[in-house]
Each structure stands twice: as structure tokens, then as C-alpha cells.
Subunit: 191 residues, 2 copies
């Protein structure tokens, strides 16, 4: 494999293959994508809010009263978990991006800590996506068995923003997944 | 590092370090744990069923009628996803366990495919856990903002089984996570 010899600050010579540099570049791009996507996903759901006037029946003998009702992300624990998970993943992506840029190639201890944290982020993000999507499905369709009515026929804009946010977060999670796979590509032949 | 020289079928000699054998043994144990935990989690939720007599009001002028209502896992799409995710992860664990037992140590291509599938399982299981947990939380506490009533005060046994199933699946997911970390431990020093 074609290699490039590069002298670093302390006089040590580090050899880096063309393939290695390509993987490193891909890793940086994927980490940046993970950062951007989770940040946008957290912001979209974090600022999501919709107020609608809903007729509410207090007693059956009186006509329903029109009451303004606001849908907010922190009304549902699954959405709170989703926003927190994306914020944590976004912070991790920013820090790991900086570490990848400033650290020398091949610091195994550091690399292992980053892979461990990447894996935690994959777990955190996918559980957040699953939680938000499960609530989203009930919001769109309702569930007659437990008599949970759909709410997305009223709060259409809010629900659409939730859906966009979940898709972006899912793409962000895939970025973290690809980073781990990229690192796995450089596995040794024998354990 | 202390190594052991071992002759294999085609006359090739494979060297395996003590650390390598330890990692391989841990991997097999973790894969078996993943298999057992996801299997039990899928079975517990898959056979979960509870029938309760619930008073249902048809019109406000008539007294409520007692109707037997059955809670089943396939009434909720999140639980269906959870069971399917655990069944897929269980199948993967069984196949990867067999592959690990019969394959020679150090087949990089095979190893990469297994890591890729392990990562898919982590994503699948954590999203399933998140989805089931989100519905479980609403089932236990209800949500006044969207007027989704809690159901676990009626279907207590069903909900407890769901909770046990989620905990087992979470432990199974952690097994898959640890397998990936174990493989990452054998990363080369330079990319």
C-alpha cells in the first residue's frame, strides 16, 4: 500500500497510508454530519409549539367550550428524552470532532474511549428515536384498544415537525453507526 | 505476550495469544447471553395477555356495562416492533454464535460482516426498547395533555410483564454492545 512519511513535532516519524487518510477524512465528515443532524433535530423539536382552539365538553348538559390548547415538546416524556439524547449526541460529536482534529493519528487509548462513546451515542439516539416514533405513531393513528385518541388531526404542524425531527435524528444516528463501521474496517487480521 | 502455536486442518499454523483466546471466550459468552436474553424478552411479551372486566359507559343515561377486555402485545405497534426486533436479534445471536464457533480465528471479511450485523442489532434493539418504554410510561402514568389515560392500574400483570421484558431486552442489547467493544479492544495501533 502506498504510504506517506510525515515528521511530527517531537521528531517521531508517523507513516500514514493513503487508505488511512481517506478513512480519517470520511470519519471527520461523518462526525460533522452527526453533529449537524442531531443539533438540527434537537432544535426543531425543542422549539416546536402549536396552539389550536379545541372544543372541550365539561358536562353533557352544556355546549362544548372553545379553549386554546398548546402542544409543546415537554408535555411528553418521550420527546424530552429525544431532545436530551440529541443534545448529548451533538455535544459528543463536537468534542470528538475537535479531538480527532487535534490528536495524532493512532492514539489507541483515546480512540477506544471515542469508540465507546460513539456506541453509547448510537444506543442513546436509537432509543430516543424509537421512543419519539412510538408516541408519534399513536399521535397520528390513535389506539382504539386503550382508547388513546389521535392528536395529529388537530396539531398537524406540530406532528409534522416531530416527524422531520425524527428523520434527521435517524440520519444522525446512522452517521455515528458508520463512524464505528469505518473504524472496524481497520481491524487487524488476527486477534 | 505468551502465544500458543496451533496447527489447523490444511497444515497452516495459526498463532493465538492468551489475550486473544480470552477475548474470544468473552465474545462467545456475551453472544450466548444476548441470544438468551432477547429470546426470553420476546417470549415474555409475545405470550403476555391479561383479561379484565371493565365497566364501559355507552350512554350517560344508562348505567355502565361490565365488559371483559383483553390486553395483548399485538394491540400496540410499539410492542409488535419490540417483539420482532428481539426475535431478529435472537436469530442473529444464534447464527453468529455458530459462525464464531466453527470459523477459524482471524477471518477478517466474516468478522466485519458480523460486526456490521452486531451494530444493526444494537440499533434495532435500542429503538425497540425505546418504543416499548415510551408506551409503557404512558401506560403507567397516562398523559393529561393529550388525554391518554393510564391503563396499568387495570392491566397490572400485563404491564409488569412488559417492564420485565424491556429490562431483559436492555440487558441483551448491552451484551451486543459489549461484543462490539470487545472487538474494538483488538484495534491496531495505527490506522
Amino acid at each position: 500500500m502506498e504510504t506517506e512519511t510525515k515528521a511530527v513535532g517531537d521528531g517521531k516519524v508517523v507513516e500514514m497510508s493513503k487508505g488511512g487518510r481517506k478513512i480519517r477524512r470520511c470519519e471527520l465528515v461523518l462526525r460533522f454530519l452527526g453533529l449537524a443532524l442531531t443539533l438540527v433535530a434537537a432544535i426543531i423539536l425543542g422549539v416546536d409549539k402549536e396552539t389550536k382552539v379545541v372544543p372541550i365538553t365539561i358536562t353533557s348538559t352544556l355546549p362544548p367550550i372553545d379553549v386554546p390548547v398548546t402542544a409543546k415538546w415537554h408535555h411528553m416524556s418521550a420527546f424530552v428524552y429525544f431532545v436530551v439524547a440529541n443534545a448529548i449526541a451533538c455535544t459528543h460529536a463536537a468534542l470528538s470532532l475537535i479531538l480527532c482534529l487535534v490528536s495524532k493519528n493512532g492514539q489507541k487509548g483515546m480512540k477506544l474511549v471515542i469508540i465507546f462513546l460513539d456506541l453509547m451515542m448510537v444506543a442513546l439516539l436509537f432509543s430516543g428515536n424509537g421512543a419519539a416514533a412510538a408516541i408519534g405513531v399513536i399521535g397520528y393513528n390513535g389506539n382504539s384498544h386503550v382508547r388513546w385518541n389521535k392528536v395529529c388531526n388537530v396539531f398537524t404542524k406540530f406532528c409534522n415537525h416531530v416527524a422531520v425531527s425524527i428523520v434527521l435524528s435517524l440520519l444522525g444516528s446512522l452517521s455515528f453507526l458508520l463512524v464505528i463501521l469505518l473504524i472496524a474496517l481497520s481491524l487487524p487480521k488476527h486477534k
